[in-house]
């Protein structure tokens, strides 16, 4: 079956766990050691939804690179965004909400999924501040990580913006 390539971009502040989410999703590994990403790393994974097979090209963008220069040069052609915040740090949620507003101007029709990572650190599994998100994940335990990428692929498949 022919694979359809789709570009997915993960955005979010430094140390919210973007790289860990990708490592968990693509390689099923997690490391406690934190090395902030330098630049952009691209990984791939195949996903089957219904009768289609998608080759996801997953762009891990360093948290310190979030600026509009980046949008013009590198985010063109993105099919979906995964906006990641740290469920234990409110400022990272605010950052992602601001980011989503800018993204809506640049890429109004591209699906965007907001996920709160590090749910394993939450007391009673609840986010302690007001937040509206699509999913909580844990890159450490792997909880809901597969679902996050699958939901995003479904949204691409359904053509949802």
């Amino acid at each position: 079956m022919r694979e359809i390539s789709k570009k997915i971009v993960l955005l979010g502040n430094e140390s919210v766990g973007k790289t860990s989410l990708i490592k968990q999703y693509v390689h099923s590994i997690f490391s406690e050691e934190y090395l902030s990403t330098i630049g952009i790393n691209i990984s791939k994974k195949s996903v089957v939804t219904g009768e289609k097979t998608y080759k996801l090209l997953i762009w891990d963008v360093a948290g310190d690179l979030m600026n509009e220069k980046l949008y013009d040069a590198y985010l063109r052609g993105t099919h979906a965004f995964l906006l990641v915040f740290d469920a234990t740090r409110e400022e990272t949620y605010q950052a992602i909400i601001n980011e989503k507003e800018v993204l809506n101007d640049y890429f109004p029709d591209v699906p965007k999924l907001i996920i709160g990572n590090k749910m394993d650190l939450l007391e009673n599994g609840e986010v302690a501040f007001d937040a509206s998100y699509d999913l909580l994940t844990s890159a450490k335990t792997g909880q809901h990580v597969e679902n996050a990428f699958f939901d995003l692929t479904k949204r691409i498949d359904d053509g949802q913006g």
């Binding site: 090395l35 330098i38 220069k69």
Partner: protein
């Protein structure tokens, strides 16, 4: 035997004696020449041994100060009261760099130990990990120069090769790419892999100053030869890359355009276990 024949024979004998004499002289001078060359081969072996000895001593002697730095960093970290995030970050990268230097020493030591059996050094390369480790060691330069790295190893990210050699090759290529970026343009360096038949091609592409290959192709791989006149670079990096590829298998290809940038491709044979 008549007199004429006798004279003829004597003449022949004299000629033979004379030819023999000149052959002996020629032989002796050749022997002298070979003797004269002998010390050169011995010199080469001597240099080689010296180099090996030097590497042993350097790796051994560097271990102690590095261990000291590491220990003092731990002490310093314990003594720091409420360090700022910047200080914490600097401490973290200092420790990381020391650890990386120790890893390089460890790799060099095992490379020397296994020198006679190169196959022992053949390991599975994880491109993501290798490049991440190289870039992390250059983090402060990358930040200072605001270089954007784009790494794409989706086509092939695991293959067999010699880790120490590949680390050195990539480190030199990446350092050069950073060094020759244009000061007035946002620097972008793309590193990617591609599988071509039975080879893996690793390319390091930059948007730097570029090289006039028509003028400089011969200079490019020479020792202490620089392709720019601005005094940057030592002229050793490309020579090392070429020697490593000659020794461990592989070749280098260069595409470049002045003012646009360069792409260095290293093509390595895909080895089987």
């Amino acid at each position: 035997m008549d007199k004429d024949n006798q004279r003829h024979l004597l003449e022949k004998l004299e000629r033979l004696v004379s030819e023999n004499q000149s052959l002996r002289l020629e032989n002796e001078s050749l022997r002298e020449l070979v003797k004269g060359n002998e010390p050169d081969s011995a010199k080469v072996i001597g240099y080689n041994n010296e180099l090996e000895q030097f590497t042993y001593v350097a790796t051994h002697d560097l271990k102690t100060p590095l261990a000291n730095i590491s220990g003092y960093l731990d002490l310093l970290e314990m003594d720091l009261e409420n360090p700022s995030e910047d200080v914490k970050d600097s401490m973290k990268w200092l420790k990381y760099s020391v650890q990386e230097a120790m890893n390089v020493i460890k790799e060099l030591t095992s490379a020397l130990k296994a020198r006679n059996d190169k196959e022992d050094l053949l390991v599975e390369i994880n491109m993501n990990n290798l490049v991440e480790s190289i870039l992390s060691g250059m983090r402060s330069t990358i930040k200072q120069k605001e270089v954007l790295f784009i790494c794409n190893f989706t086509e092939i990210d695991h293959f067999l090769y010699y880790q120490t050699a590949l680390r050195s090759i990539l480190q030199n290529l990446i350092s050069n790419a950073i060094l020759y970026l244009k000061p007035d343009t946002d620097g972008i360096i793309q590193i990617q892999t591609e599988q071509i038949d039975d080879s893996v091609c690793i390319s390091v592409e930059d948007n730097g100053v570029g090289i006039d290959l028509e003028k400089n192709r011969d200079k490019l791989l020479g020792l202490f030869k620089r392709v720019t006149n601005d005094g940057s670079g030592s002229g050793i990096g490309m020579y090392i890359i070429n020697k490593l590829l000659e020794n461990y298998g592989g070749r280098l290809e260069v595409e470049s355009e002045v003012g646009v940038g360069s792409t260095f491709k290293i093509i390595l044979p895909l080895k089987k276990t």
